[in-house]
Amino acid sequence: MKNKHLPIIIVLAALLLPGNLLFGQDSPPPRSFLESGLSGEFLAPPREDILLPPADSAAEAKPKIKLLPDHLSLMESALWGESGLMRITGIAPLTPSARKSELGVRRFMLTAHQIGGFVTMGLFIPTLIYGQKNIDQWNASESGHPPYTPINRSIDRTHRNLATILFASYMATASLSIFSPPPLIRRDDWGGTTSIHKTLAWVHFAGMLALPFLGSAASSADHHGNISQAKNLRTIHQVVAYTTAAAFTASLIIMTF
């Protein structure tokens, strides 16, 4: 007899046991509740809701965080990707503790990037002032017929020196961002301040690469007596310089919003 009815009891128990375990001691099977204090009567949620993670402690709900974001830039992949240079050389292994230190490095580099941005912004001002003075004196000198008005070489030299310092400061500042370790997450939030900052960076980066060549080409044209070409190149250099400065200023200001 025992053998006959034992399976029935086991089946019934098996059907009931999971539910009882899931509901736990504080949770009876669905019953009506919330009869006072609230308009409308609420019942216990459907079983699917109760089957959600119990989450009775932080430990149970503790997720695993991915060490790298889903999307990496080319430079980030080359340096900090799973098979990047820093990983294969063993300089920065891809482990949680190493990644934590890496994020500290990233923060240091980005803070220095911000300081570098202000310094570079400060250097733009005298470079533009002396650049404008220089272009004015060259245009004035070459507007008439020979012999031309003598050029104040001191203004020309000062502009060149300032431009060299500005270029070095700019590239150092850019490097701090370009070579920094990747963040923990990266979402597609196009239109945000950071994406505008990065879009403007393409503009001023291209401008900063072009400016030394344009200045040098204008100087070379002058040296060879090609006055018309020199004047055109100076104008292009001037427009690119102001555009670069404007894009740089905008990319700095946008980060404050």
């Binding site: 006959k4 949770s27 009876p28 009506s32 503790k62 994020l103 923060r107 803070t111 923990l184």
Partner: protein
């Protein structure tokens, strides 16, 4: 016939055992907030601007007393990487300062809940950045349509939880974080 009677008796006994277990629970039901529509938000203020970061991926459970309809306990937990301020660079910075790799969750467990009309006065422990501190806040409950909503807010100090305040353009944000929540629980059917 005797066998059938014995089978039924055994079945009834099994039911009785589980019913006894259920009744001993004190007549409280556990409700889980609906993910996606429930939210946990923090607001940070910087001298230049302020922003909010929202997580819709919150695990929240409450136990509700069947007879009185009052909320007895509340618990929530959220993955710190699930907060979105609309600027992932900023969110990543936030994860750095809260050391998300070591402490990936923020959680709250109530220790005492008092019902004040349609509102609640909640005391509990907030675990954040590996530290647990008591917090108290008021919450409002409302029932609309098929949903029970519980909303509230409180403020915490970052330094109290051992967090170094993040900076923008070398200027640190305010120490106080405003935390607000809107939890929605599904209404069941008869």
């Amino acid at each position: 016939m005797t066998n059938i009677i014995r089978s039924v008796t055994c079945t009834v006994c099994v039911f009785a055992l589980f019913a006894a277990g259920t009744l001993s629970a004190g007549g409280a039901a556990k409700l889980a907030a609906t993910p996606g529509v429930s939210s946990l938000t923090y607001k940070i203020v910087h001298p230049m601007h302020e922003f909010e970061s929202v997580s819709h991926d919150v695990t929240c459970t409450i136990t509700v007393d069947d007879s009185s309809g009052t909320i007895r306990t509340a618990f929530f937990s959220a993955d710190v990487t699930s907060f979105d301020s609309g600027n992932s660079n900023r969110d990543s910075h936030a994860m750095e300062v809260v050391d998300a790799l070591t402490y990936p969750t923020v959680s709250f467990k109530s220790t005492n809940i008092r019902t004040l009309g349609t509102g609640l006065s909640v005391d509990g422990d907030l675990e954040f950045h590996g530290q647990t501190h008591p917090v108290s806040f008021s919450a409002a409950t409302s029932a609309t349509g098929d949903t029970l909503a519980v909303a509230g807010s409180t403020s915490i100090s970052m330094t109290a939880f051992g967090i170094d305040r993040p900076s923008l353009l070398l200027v640190p944000v305010q120490d106080t974080i405003r935390i607000s929540f809107q939890m929605k629980f599904p209404k069941g059917t008869h």
